[in-house]
Point group: D2
Chain length 341, copies 4
């Protein structure tokens, strides 16, 4: 059965695999000090046009969020995040496990505003016993969000400014970064992401790699002894080359963005097909995930042919479902899906 259940259904892009094969028997240093990793870092720094960047590779998204946040926060600090943020709802308490509270802000379409951050800080700072509250120590957002939506240029710029005015590092979760940046609706580039954030990551697991996320500290601000922190979290790969080689290929000849483009094109084709048939969108997503409102009946029928995710109940008769595409989505599968609508 064809599946649009998520964006990690296949292995890796064939060019990524090919590079793994070619480099396989070269003897290399461990723990990220191999030559492939070094070259991948250079390529990424060139693409993001950020000379103050340092780049580190980790294995998965939750791990990356946990480690970056734990490394940046003081022990008595928490992280401001949208109430719908991945770290708040879908990471099994990984942030709290490392000792930090997720301080939630109201979100609209998965996004928070500079205004809500400012307001939170004002209330906090006005409190006479703020020592009894968790000090906000950084801000976390996702680009694109968990709902496929995008911050505008101005929204990001404002968030960045309020963060920097208040010495709060801004961390952008880019698990699906490519799928956001290549969208025609995106007003920002990867260079903007680097400039507006203090740290962000370039998602590989969902975009062409077997696994791997590239963490970029953008302001000469890699935490001291970051490798020890990674090791302490059990996240330091002996064969760091596995990550280095994959990102080296993804950041050679624009591959990362080219394959992201394909995913978004497939996603928009699905969206248009639903719209053409009168379906309602739950979120208007310009990226690789589409959230559609379907009747329970329609869901039951489609489920016989296609795998997709039930997102949540909409009302007694309808539900919100999600169709995700990726670098690996075959156009013939998209056509098949559309044929069932």
């Amino acid at each position: 059965m064809i599946s649009f259940a998520n964006d990690y259904l296949e292995g890796a892009h064939e060019k990524v695999l090919q590079r793994l094969i070619e480099t396989n028997m070269e003897q290399e240093h461990g723990y990220g000090s191999d030559s492939f990793t070094k070259q991948a870092i250079e390529n990424i720094k060139e693409v993001i046009e950020c000379q103050d960047a340092s780049v580190r590779f980790l294995v998965g998204g939750t791990q990356t969020n946990q480690i970056v946040i734990d490394a940046l926060l003081n022990k008595f600090e928490g992280v401001l995040a949208p109430e719908t943020g991945h770290i708040n709802v879908r990471e099994a308490g990984a942030i709290e496990y490392s000792g930090h509270k997720v301080l939630t802000l109201p979100s609209v379409n998965g996004k928070i505003s500079a205004h809500s951050v400012k307001e939170y800080l004002e209330v906090f700072n006005a409190d006479e016993t703020k020592e009894h509250m968790v000090l906000p120590g950084m801000v976390y957002i996702s680009f694109p969000t968990e709902y496929g939506t995008l911050y505008t240029y101005e929204e990001l710029e404002d968030l960045s400014r309020v963060c920097h005015d208040n010495q709060l590092p801004l961390f952008i979760d880019g698990a699906r970064l490519g799928y956001g940046l290549v969208s025609e609706k995106s007003e920002v580039t990867i260079q903007d992401i680097a400039r507006f954030s203090d740290v962000f990551y370039i998602g590989g697991t969902k975009i062409g790699a077997l696994c791997g996320e590239a963490v970029v500290f953008t302001k000469n601000n890699e935490p001291k002894h970051f490798i020890s922190t990674v090791k302490q979290h059990g996240a330091l790969l002996a064969k760091g080359r596995l990550l280095g080689v994959q990102f080296l290929e993804l950041f050679t000849n624009n591959l990362y963005f080219d394959i992201s483009q394909h995913a978004v094109a497939m996603s928009l084709k699905i969206k248009q097909a639903f719209l053409d048939r009168g379906y309602e969108l739950f979120f208007d997503s310009p990226t690789n995930q589409q959230f559609i409102i379907m009747t329970n009946d329609q869901v039951d029928k489609l489920k016989q042919h296609v795998s997709f995710a039930i997102w949540e109940k909409y009302d007694n008769d309808r539900m919100v479902v999600r169709f995700a595409t990726s670098w690996g989505t075959l156009e013939k599968n998209v056509d098949e899906l559309i044929s069932y609508l």
Copy 2:
């Protein structure tokens, strides 16, 4: 320059890579519920002849030690381990980071004895204020040890008995398990390992895989909600297939043991060459690591041609160095190394 610096110098065994390529575009469920993972689990259970086993795949050794120990211990408990154990000296405090003390026992050649465990418990239990001490909650050992040495059948049996008599789960770190089991000096089989332990892991990172360790709970004792624990530690791979596929191939047609055999044969050839030339061994290792005492002069000369690990200072004129082999060691490199002695 040829290298014997460690046992993770290359990528993966070609058959493992081949299987990744063949399965690459099959759409599969995430987080370890894919069909490859399921088949790999079946194959492993068959090999270890343990019907009460449950098997889970994790990415690396430190991660595995941290998660297994954290999942098995109550919050107020610590883990008994050899003072030279990997968790005590080489994991950047990953165990303590998760809240648990490593309670050290004196070790000889990297090994602890049933007797020392018993003695520790006697002193502990005799203490009138033992509530002020960390309760020992499990026992950790490595097979083979960090020094390449092996527990005898009797040693393991005794350890297992004292652990079970005292309700202490016995955890065997098998980062290099294959290299221990195929040694001619090994008195135990993988079935014995499963029987004597409560949980052990089959190291993949050092034996043929790009990454991956197979955790085996052997006594119908997988901790409740283990997947949540793995996620909470940031260690749940979206593409769990990456681990499943690799272990599926390693546990098809005896590949895991065959490639382990090669590594040990290469290691013994190196050892014999050193002995033939009158060098002294620091440990007498029958597995894939050799610890040799060399003069500073000899070290300096050899370093011009070969990469290897400086272990520790022996005396003012000599040091202990380590040569490691693996599934990927080329015999021509071994011959070249020997030519320099």
Copy 3:
């Protein structure tokens, strides 16, 4: 200046002090194994009419919340609590510091309902990937709440039922327990509290003691090795007698409830005075805290004579302020306060 700023303005009730003096030079065992502690435990068990209870004394409220929650939860679990609950907003992240997420439920007047717990569990259990979410492991409420309000008998009974139907221990924070129970509006007794909850604590710090909270596990359910857990949290008093003696006196001749009565009487007198003068209540509290809406002007004037707490901004012209009474509140101070209105 007279103060109603909080309910821990004075030292201890004179009878409590007296008992400390009388017992001062008796040589006693440490760490809570002294004879006073033992007697205090017996007295409390008699009062709460709960034979399955075990009682332990801790020093303060946040400490108690942290330790009880940490001792009851599995590592992968979180605690359900009102979004306005003390553990969520006023404990500097003490729960998260111990590794657990506070899972918030919407609250009305500081209270949550059985219905909202049930609904949370339904959504949680219906989720296909609930392994990625924090497992709810217990429920926390306060009696009285942080806003001085009380659960009705039926509300508590319903909460208790839904908790027990779902194997979720119910924990009642009783930092101000006495002030709730003696209220004329209280529909529940301390015996009800013991019956409905799985663990609760009897607040001493705010009711007559220098410090101290009596934790009561009510269902033969004291966590294994609880003393080790207390020690591990740095909370085991060498001179446990300090807590034992105080609670012994508080639970002799009904002292705890008598002095609570006084505080509530003073509080109601203040409330009536405000109502008589046309002020609006922010919460209608029948216990020892009154939340009044005052204009900024009124606040400024009153502040010249009386100390009280600014709670929050109400609108541009008004704010919510709090007046707290305690066992130590002098009626002449209450009269003085009223004279300024």
Copy 4:
């Protein structure tokens, strides 16, 4: 039965109690911002002659060790300590619970040397993969040690120098500080302690108070947001006055040192009595604890009249026992003890 089992057998010195009574009904701010606490801090700063000091009060010794160490260490660091140090053996893993490894150094009579610290650092710094080891972040010692012994002036000076040369804060656990400083064998004063250390604490629980330890950061180095850290650990007393008042009295008119003197005088009288009768000392302690080697027979007989602590087995026929004195020890009890020898 008279007891020398430990140094927390009684309540508080009568003058301390008296001061609590006198100040009892004064309304004061909470959480350590009361006037008594402020005055106590001034008195302590004057006594220690350290203008760069900041002083904070905590409740007990393990709590103090946990919080100070957690506040000073980076997340990836551990604390160097004597293998016999209280934090390593008697605190139920409180340090590890907060995420930090205790890195042990060999100890002689409870003491470590500057040399052993230096050596540890040399080995650590020479390690090529030190990122895999726990970074030493501070040094912990006790004065007097857990065995009643004292560092000489030179030993402390050397330790202090090696610590400062290596940017390692030196933390002195002074649970029994008074009993060490007033000893005739002490070569150091409290001013020296302040000068040599970066942080130390003045033990109150064992010296005249019901509870309480005064933490002194000596080098303008109180960790940022220390109060939040204390609250996060559940250790912030609402009625901070309880600690402030007690230390205010202890540091008025030299009371702390006078009552320490008494304890040591009683201890030396006991020691001399044992020596006169030919008993052997296990440690030669000039402070308030005496460790004596007694035959099993002698122990059994004495136990019928006197309570004391069994320390450890010496050989099959003998054991080490401990007699502790304190500010509260009655000379007639000492005489009675001696009469049984």
